[in-house]
């Protein structure tokens, strides 16, 4: 099995290359087929990895030496341990489903070749990121998914908001990427090693707990994770990223790429355990982001933006679990979240597409007539997101996070944030559900979805329910398969004593029901045109965009404008040119009166008299004949030479290179 590891990122990469180079020879239908086959092949290899020995011991494959500089030789190598296996399974399965969903969804679009190229390339990059056995390769995957995310958000790039959103996502995540790069440099400067396993062992043996270097390194890595996973304060790009096609939102901005930060922290968790302050910061960022995302989602009116803020908030839960040292549980929530959030996005995409690209939830409610499969699967996804007790996967993963947060440092405070977030989660998702699917429009549906769209929805709906049963809550009789299976690599989370645990679980189970009824109350208020207090503040995402615009973008633009003023007439003119010009005019006036009026006039008069004398004296005709012939010669050579001055850049380049070749040839032979 080990030698086939490269096929997992390799097949989507191959697919994207085929689409890139041979895409013009294929028909549109076949483009989609190539892309789907590539992702299906990756998924098959992952299934094979499950069936063979991959689950028992980590697999390792080194393809070749990537760079060789002296002693330092980063390899192009892959590692498949259980953490990576979980991630690879999520990425390839959701990726395959989204590829299938895209076939009918994007069938009408132009530029399918670009779409499928980037979708496949994204899959390759994400799998590379997850499988990489050294930080350099991980960073390659990290940048690759960032690039694809940028290109796919701006897929409809002729629409200025879309291309702006893509650019914004790229620039904001770049801040995080820079931090991550600096972190990698720091680790390399300390250990002269980038291989993950060696690096983590070295760090745990050489660094003391709480040392400055460990804190600094983890802070930088956290910066990267925060940027990619859209946590506070770099979350502003994700809501705008929803302008891309819905399958892209489901795959990249909900299920896989945004969880790369969670994966990175889980992968480097020995480092984080050396830096308790950073670890607490991870939990605090997570807790704050939970409340931030959930409260902003309550006030949104754009269907997909609700889901975007919801993603921000749910990844906050994963960060909270990471900060509490419950890596396996963070990964558990990552898994269930990937299923139900992809489901929510795909069904939302189906509804939006069926209603003629209408994004506003109130208008969607008025239109009605939504495909019934989309409606039921959305309800399942919503229930799972809200964490409706016992029957949904979201309940089991979120409950575990809430309970384990209690036992962390300053746990009760974190728990209050997380529990409040859970309440808000139930409010916003049921608000959206009722506004969209129980609006004033007709409920019965006349639209049926194509088979390729309904199949992924059904599979994801099934997974959103059953994937929770593999890890029952702490203190319950039943299997704890997940944490036991991951126990070799990721330490088991600590839980508070059983009585507290049961109390907390009881409260967590009640929260979705309370949220459900609050959502109904909220809708009644909204339909009576009573808006929430702070609704505008929440809708703008706590005003982060305006804040960043005022603090960063505007000063930058102002600086650019000042610098540009050198070219225009306003800026520099007032400062430099005008006084200078006035001075020059004064001087020239004085000189004129003194010199020109006085001496120069007389000199000119003298020259004039001399010229008249010469003209009379010298043979008039001889001069004229000489000059005429000279002019004729000049004009002749001018007509010949001016043909070379035709203004075509390429011709000039051609002449220069021909000359260069001629001279080289002359010197060499």
């Amino acid at each position: 099995m080990s030698q086939w590891l490269w096929l997992i990122p390799g097949t989507p990469l191959l697919g994207s290359l085929i689409i890139l180079f041979l895409g013009s020879l294929l028909r549109r239908k076949h483009l989609a087929m190539v892309a789907c086959c590539a992702s299906a092949a990756a998924f098959l290899v992952v299934v094979l990895a499950w069936l063979t020995e991959a689950t028992s011991q980590p697999l390792q494959q080194t393809l070749y030496t990537w760079v060789a500089v002296g002693e330092w030789r980063p390899m192009f190598g892959f590692t498949l341990d259980r953490l990576a296996l979980v991630m690879v399974s999520i990425v390839s399965s959701v990726g395959l489903l989204v590829h299938l969903y895209s076939v009918p969804f994007m069938a009408e679009e132009a530029d399918q070749r670009r779409y499928y190229f980037f979708l496949n390339l994204f899959l390759a990059g994400m799998l590379l990121l997850v499988l990489a056995d050294n930080l350099l390769l991980l960073y390659l995957g990290w940048e690759l998914v960032g690039l694809c995310s940028y290109a796919l958000i701006g897929f409809w790039y002729r629409d200025p908001p879309c291309s702006n959103a893509g650019r914004k996502a790229f620039i904001v995540t770049r801040i995080g990427d820079t931090a991550l790069a600096l972190g990698i440099f720091l680790l390399f400067s300390q250990f002269h090693e980038l291989s993950l396993s060696a690096l983590l062992t070295n760090a745990t043996t050489q660094w003391e707990k709480g040392s400055t270097l460990a804190t600094l390194a983890t802070l930088l890595i956290l910066g990267g994770a925060v940027g990619k996973s859209a946590q506070l304060p770099l979350q502003v790009w994700l809501p705008d990223a929803m302008l891309g096609p819905s399958p892209v939102s489901a795959l990249i901005h909900a299920a896989t790429m945004v969880t790369a930060g969670v994966y990175l922290i889980a992968r480097t968790h020995p480092l984080f355990e050396l830096a308790p302050h950073t670890q607490w910061l991870v939990a605090a960022i997570g807790a704050l982001t939970i409340v931030y995302g959930a409260s902003a989602a309550v006030a949104q009116s754009d269907f997909k933006k609700v889901l975007a803020y919801s993603t921000i908030s749910q990844i906050g839960y994963m960060f909270l679990a990471l900060g509490c040292g419950a890596y396996a549980i963070a990964l558990f929530h990552l898994t269930t979240h990937a299923f139900f959030k992809a489901l929510l996005f795909l069904s939302a995409g189906a509804v939006i597409r069926a209603s003629g690209d209408e994004h506003d939830i109130n208008s969607l409610g008025k239109i009605g007539n939504h495909p019934s499969i989309a409606r039921w699967t959305f309800l399942i996804g919503a229930a799972s997101l809200a964490g409706v007790p016992f029957i949904t996967a979201g309940f089991y993963s979120k409950d575990a996070i809430l309970v384990t947060a209690w036992s962390a440092p300053t746990g009760p405070l974190l728990w209050i944030f997380a529990a409040f977030g859970a309440l808000l989660t139930a409010i916003y998702i049921f608000r959206v559900y009722f506004l969209v699917f129980h609006g004033s429009g007709p409920r019965t549906s006349t639209i049926s979805l194509p088979y390729f769209m309904s199949l992924p929805l059904l599979i994801l709906a099934l997974l959103s329910i059953v994937s929770g049963f593999i890890e029952l809550p702490e203190g319950w009789p039943g299997p704890h398969l997940w944490s036991l299976w991951l126990a070799d690599e990721l330490a088991v989370a600590t839980f508070p004593p059983l009585t507290i645990t049961y109390t907390l679980q009881f409260i967590t189970a009640l929260l979705p029901l309370a949220g459900f009824s609050l959502a109904l109350w909220l809708i009644q208020r909204e339909q009576a045109y009573q808006s929430l207090p702070l609704a505008n503040f929440l809708r703008s995402g706590w005003g982060f965009d305006a804040f960043y615009y005022a603090m960063l973008v505007r000063p930058y633009l102002a600086l650019a404008r000042i610098l540009q003023a050198g070219e225009s007439k306003e800026g520099i003119t007032y400062i430099v040119v005008r006084p200078y010009r006035a001075l020059a005019r004064g001087v020239s006036d004085a000189v004129e009166t003194l010199l020109i009026e006085g001496a120069l006039t007389r000199i000119t008069r003298g020259f004039l008299a001399f010229a008249t004398f010469c003209r009379k004296g010298v043979e008039y005709k001889m001069l004229e004949a000489g000059i005429t012939s000279l002019v004729a010669a000049l004009r002749f050579s001018y007509t010949i030479l001016s043909t070379t001055q035709n203004g075509f850049l390429s011709r000039y380049a051609l002449v220069i290179s021909t000359g260069a070749v001629f001279f080289l040839g002359y010197w060499l032979w």
Binding site: S642, Q645, G647, F648, L649, S650
Partner: protein
């Protein structure tokens, strides 16, 4: 150890490819890209020579070259942008203001 000739062949290929792009493409941006490819060919030559002589000067030269290239790209991109801003054109055949327009018959 890669033989010198292999590196030089690759470098020459890069250079010629870049030159072909410069000569054949008509968009300013592609011509810039072609220039970059040619510069990379040159850089590869420097690296190969440095490796052949066991001397780090070649690599130093390449770092220098990268810096110069970055500066050159910045200036060139601004020029392209200005050209677009003034003439609303990015194709070189429309940018023929340097052509000698003097009427030959009358003068």
């Amino acid at each position: 150890m890669i033989p010198l000739s292999h590196s030089l062949i690759i470098a020459a290929l890069l250079f010629v490819l870049g030159l072909a792009v410069v000569l054949l493409r008509r968009e300013l941006l592609f011509i810039l890209i072609g220039l970059e490819v040619m510069l990379n060919g040159v850089a590869l030559t420097a690296i190969a020579a440095g490796q052949y002589w066991g001397n780090a000067d070649g690599q130093v030269l390449v770092i220098m070259l990268l810096t110069v290239t970055a500066a050159e790209v910045v200036v060139a991109l601004i020029l392209v942008w200005l050209a677009f801003d003034h003439y609303k054109a990015v194709r070189v055949e429309t940018l023929t203001h340097l052509r000698d327009d003097t009427d030959r018959s009358t003068s």
